[in-house]
């Protein structure tokens, strides 16, 4: 017979009931001895599958990385994801299947490692060196005129309304395509903190453009089709 849960359970027990498979995972991982070891081995295999999936997706963009190096990255990502998942088991509320919930940790670890690896040894461009290249490409002449004006206004506004830190973050991420995790590592920050800076910078630019009567032709946050 299974030992009943201790009386001091977490006060916010989820009302959602787990599907059978997720319940089996949670019970096995909460078990002891050989049963738990077996569950952890299966969990690691599941995480490794997800990490390899991510490596496979990014492989075409990483021609300079050898196969065994990519295998190592997948394995490290699975190892790190295993630690995260086990540390955060109590956060699993059954709002998705356990496997989907676990996958996201492995995909995150693999994606972050691959972004960092592909920028290893490269200088991070923090200066707006690609404004001109950015502004010169266009589709149609009418579009070009409008877009060019908008881009010129944005360029000026990054100099006049943003703080130096906001400007650096916006330029690196949005203009020069530096991955946010890579920038976070170099600046000793986090993805969440840098994204907040980026978001604040964007809000300032939007407000500045609106005050100048410039229409920003971006769709609302709704679903995109095709």
């Amino acid at each position: 017979m299974r030992t009943p849960a201790p009386a001091t359970v977490a006060p916010v027990a989820p009302a959602v009931s787990l599907d059978l498979e997720s319940r089996a995972w949670i019970e096995a991982l909460g078990d002891q001895g050989a049963a738990r070891d077996d569950a952890i081995a299966r969990l690691h295999a599941l995480l490794l599958r997800a990490a390899r999936f991510e490596v496979g997706r990014r492989r075409p963009t990483l021609p300079h990385l050898r196969g065994n190096e990519l295998d190592d990255i997948a394995l490290e990502a699975a190892d790190d994801a295993l630690v995260s998942v086990l540390a955060r088991l109590e956060d699993f509320e059954g709002r998705s299947r356990f496997s989907t919930w676990a996958y996201k940790f492995a995909l995150l670890e693999a994606a972050v490692k691959l972004r960092k690896r592909s920028w290893q040894g490269r200088e991070i461009p923090l200066e707006p060196e690609s404004w001109s290249l950015f502004a010169d490409r266009g589709s149609s002449p009418e579009d070009d005129a409008e877009q060019s004006e908008l881009l010129r206004e944005i360029r000026e506004a990054t100099e006049s309304v943003l703080t130096p830190h906001q400007r650096r973050v916006l330029v690196a991420i949005a203009l020069n395509g530096v991955p946010i995790d890579v920038l976070a590592e170099r600046l000793g920050s986090t993805r969440g903190a840098l994204y907040k800076t980026l978001h604040d910078a964007r809000q300032k630019l939007r407000a500045h453009l609106a005050a100048r009567g410039l229409a920003i032709d971006l769709p609302e946050g709704g679903k995109r089709h095709g």
């Binding site: 997800a50 999936f53 991510e54 997706r57 709002r95 998705s96 299947r97 989907t100 919930w101 996958y103 996201k104 995909l107 995150l108 994606a111 972050v112 972004r115 950015f134 490409r137 579009d143 877009q147 908008l150 881009l151 944005i154 916006l170 991420i173 949005a174 203009l175 991955p179 946010i180 995790d181 993805r191 969440g192 994204y195 907040k196 980026l198 978001h199 964007r202 630019l205 939007r206 920003i216 032709d217 971006l218 769709p219 609302e220 946050g221 709704g222 679903k223 995109r224």
Partner: protein, 73 residues
């Protein structure tokens, strides 16, 4: 829509933070795969995925992985 402007200005409207996005990502993807209106269920997610390249890529990956398992590919 100009991709350069999207990258500079992000999506309009309210959006989740990266931490909130990660917390909701698995549920959001399963709703998408099941054909439910995921954007109605998780407001602010779409805007974040459009504005944040890293979270956007991880969303694409999880969606591809889970959808692939559903169809057995």
């Amino acid at each position: 829509m100009d991709e350069r402007l999207r990258r500079l200005l992000g999506a309009s409207g309210p959006e989740l933070t990266c931490e909130e996005c990660f917390a909701e990502l698995d549920r959001y993807v399963e709703l998408e795969v099941s054909g439910t209106d995921a954007d109605a269920a998780v407001p602010g997610m779409r805007g974040h995925l459009e504005g944040c390249p890293a979270c956007g890529e991880e969303h694409e990956s999880l969606l591809a992985l889970v959808a692939g398992e559903e169809t057995g590919t």
